[in-house]
C-alpha cells in the first residue's frame, strides 16, 4: 500500500516559525531579498528582455509552475507597462519530463498553458524562481521540444544559486546567490504565499 502523499519542498512557513534542524539546533535563516529587492530585480530583467530582444516583438514568456508562472506574469505586466506591447504569457509544466520521478512519491501535475498562437517561430523566455542543478531547465527544454519549435530559447531566473549539474546558464538573473549545497533557498511570492521574499536557510552539517 503506497499513498499519493504529495511533498512540497521543505522549509518553514512564510510567517517564519521554525522547528529544530537535523542537528538539533535552530536552523539559521535570513532573507536575502525582500519585496522591494524582488520588484527591482524583475523591473531590471523586464528591461533586459526588451533590450536583448529589441522590443520583445516575438517573445513568449513561459513560466515553470508554480512560482515561475507567477514571475512570468509579473514580467509580462512590466514589459507591457514599459513599452505598451502585450506579450503572450503562459506556463509549461515539467513534471512528466523530470529525471527523478522514480525517486519519490508520485507528483501532481501543474498547468501547461500555451498562448493561442503557440510557440513556433517565437523567442521563448523560460522563467523560473531558482536556478540550481539545471535539471528543471533541461526538463523544460524537453517539454518545449514536444510543444513546438521556437526560434530560440532564453532563460530568466530570480535567483541563481550555483551548483550546476548540467551545461545550462541563465540569460537574465535577478540575483546571483552563492550558496552551500546544504543550504536551502525558498522563494515566497505575494500571489501564492502572501508576501514577497527570498529566504536562505542554513542546512547544518550533513
Amino acid at each position: 500500500m503506497v499513498s499519493f502523499a504529495v511533498s512540497e519542498s521543505a522549509g518553514p512557513d512564510p510567517q517564519g516559525s521554525y522547528t529544530t534542524g537535523p542537528d538539533g539546533k535552530r536552523p539559521d535563516t535570513r532573507a536575502v531579498l525582500e519585496a522591494p529587492d524582488i520588484h527591482r530585480a524583475l523591473t531590471r530583467i523586464a528591461h533586459e528582455i526588451l533590450e536583448r530582444t529589441k522590443g520583445a516583438d516575438d517573445v513568449v514568456l513561459l513560466g515553470i509552475p508554480t512560482r515561475g508562472a507567477t514571475l512570468a506574469r509579473r514580467l509580462g505586466e512590466r514589459i507591457e507597462r514599459f513599452e505598451g506591447v502585450k506579450i503572450p504569457v503562459g506556463s509549461v509544466d515539467i513534471t512528466m519530463y523530470r529525471d527523478d520521478l522514480r525517486r519519490g512519491p508520485v507528483r501532481p501535475l501543474g498547468p501547461t498553458e500555451l498562448p493561442p498562437d503557440g510557440i513556433d517561430g517565437r523567442v521563448v523566455v523560460l522563467v523560473d524562481d531558482v536556478l540550481y542543478s539545471g535539471r528543471t531547465v533541461r526538463a523544460a527544454l524537453d517539454a518545449l521540444n514536444d510543444l513546438g519549435r521556437p526560434t530560440s530559447v532564453q532563460l530568466a531566473t530570480l535567483v541563481d544559486r550555483g551548483h550546476r549539474e548540467l551545461p545550462i546558464r541563465a540569460d537574465y538573473v535577478g540575483k546571483n546567490l552563492p550558496t552551500a549545497k546544504s543550504e536551502k533557498v525558498k522563494v515566497y511570492l505575494q500571489e501564492i504565499d502572501g508576501r514577497d521574499a527570498v529566504l536562505l536557510m542554513k542546512g547544518g552539517a550533513r
Partner: protein, 305 residues
C-alpha cells in the same frame, strides 16, 4: 490510493479528485501535435483480456503508449489459456516478463482481486464479470465534471440493466464519494438483490425522475449475459425504459445524456438522442484515454514500492 485500482469504492474522495485533476492536465496532451510524454519510458503494461473488448483495450493501449510505456496485449483467444492454463500460471508468466502493471478484463467477478495477490506490479481492473469497471466510472465522472462544472449535489440517473452492469456499480460508488446523488431506474427484475445496501435511490418510473436529473446515463441491455426472460419483450422494455425523443424533451436544457457504449440504438436509446449535442457519448471515448493515462501515471509514475 492503493497500489492497485480494483474497485471504485477503494478510492477516497481525495484520490478520486487527484485522478480527475491529473486527467484535466493530461487532456491537453491529446490536443497537441505530439501526443506523447516520456514519463513511463521503460515500464511495461500488460493488457490481459479474457473477455472480448475493443474500446477498453485500445483505450488502455493508447493511454499507455502516450506515456511511452511498452504495451503487451494478451488475449485469451488463441493463447495458452485456451490450452487450459490457469489464471495464476498466466499471472506468474507475466510477472516473469517484468510487467509493471497488468490491466485485466475477466468474465469472473473478483479475478483482478485474486491477481493482485499474485503479482508484484499494479493491477488495474478493466471490468470483472458483473462486479466493477472503475476506469469507466472515472471517465464518466470526468465527462460529467467537464460538462456540468462540478459533481457536488448533482443528480445523476442511471437507467437500465443494473443487474448485469459493472459500470452501474462502479458509478454509484464513485459518484457517491464525489458527492453526487444517484438514482437507479430499472425494471425490478434487472436490479440486484442487494440494491438496498447501495448508496443510492431506486425508482421504477423514468418519466418522474428525468426532469430532476442533471445527467442521465443509459446502460446497455446485456443480452449476452441474459439467460432468462428479464422483461416481456424488447419493445416493452424500450417503451418503459428507453430514452426516446419524447422523454428527452422532458429533461432540462442543461442536462446531459451518457452511455458507456456499445449502444443498442433504438433499444435503450434513440439514435437522434444519442447523436444530439447534449450527448457526451463520443467525448466519453476521448476522455477514456485521458483518464486511463492519469491512472497509469499515478500508479506507475512514482517510486516502485
Amino acid at each position: 490510493m492503493n497500489r492497485h485500482l480494483i474497485s471504485a469504492g477503494d478510492l477516497a474522495k481525495d484520490d478520486a479528485l487527484l485522478i480527475l485533476d491529473t486527467a484535466e492536465e493530461l487532456a491537453r496532451v491529446s490536443e497537441r501535435s505530439i501526443k506523447k510524454l516520456p514519463t513511463l519510458r521503460g515500464r511495461t503494461v500488460v493488457n490481459l483480456f479474457f473477455e472480448d473488448s475493443t474500446r477498453t483495450r485500445i483505450s488502455f493501449e493508447a493511454a499507455a503508449k502516450r506515456l511511452s510505456a511498452d504495451v503487451i496485449n494478451f488475449s485469451a483467444k488463441g493463447s495458452s489459456v485456451s490450452k487450459g492454463e490457469s489464471l495464476k500460471d498466466t499471472a506468474l508468466t507475466l510477472e516473469a516478463m517484468g510487467a509493471d502493471a497488468v490491466v485485466i478484463r475477466h468474465s469472473a467477478s473478483g479475478a483482478p482481486h485474486r491477481l493482485a495477490n499474485w503479482v508484484h506490479g499494479s493491477v488495474v481492473n478493466a471490468g470483472d464479470g458483473t462486479h466493477e469497471h472503475p476506469t469507466q466510472a472515472l471517465l464518466d465522472a470526468f465527462s460529467m465534471r467537464r460538462r456540468l462544472g462540478g459533481l457536488e449535489g448533482r443528480k445523476v440517473t442511471i437507467v437500465g440493466d443494473v443487474l448485469h452492469s459493472r459500470v452501474a456499480r462502479s458509478n454509484v460508488l464513485l459518484l457517491h464519494t464525489l458527492g453526487a446523488e444517484v438514482t437507479l431506474v430499472a425494471p425490478p427484475t434487472l436490479l440486484p438483490v442487494s440494491i438496498g445496501t447501495w448508496p443510492c435511490e431506486v425508482s421504477y418510473d423514468l418519466d418522474a425522475v428525468l426532469p430532476k436529473s442533471d445527467a442521465v446515463m443509459m446502460l446497455r441491455v446485456q443480452k449476452e449475459r441474459m439467460n432468462a426472460a428479464y422483461f416481456p419483450s424488447e419493445r416493452e422494455y424500450s417503451r418503459r425504459y428507453g430514452l426516446d425523443r419524447e422523454r428527452f424533451a422532458k429533461m432540462t436544457d442543461e442536462a446531459i445524456v451518457m452511455h458507456p457504449g456499445p449502444m443498442n440504438r433504438g433499444m435503450e436509446i434513440a439514435a437522434e438522442v444519442a447523436d444530439s449535442a447534449r450527448s457526451t457519448i463520443v467525448e466519453q471515448v476521448a476522455n477514456g484515454v485521458t483518464i486511463r493515462m492519469a491512472v497509469l501515471y499515478l500508479l506507475l509514475g512514482g517510486e516502485t514500492a
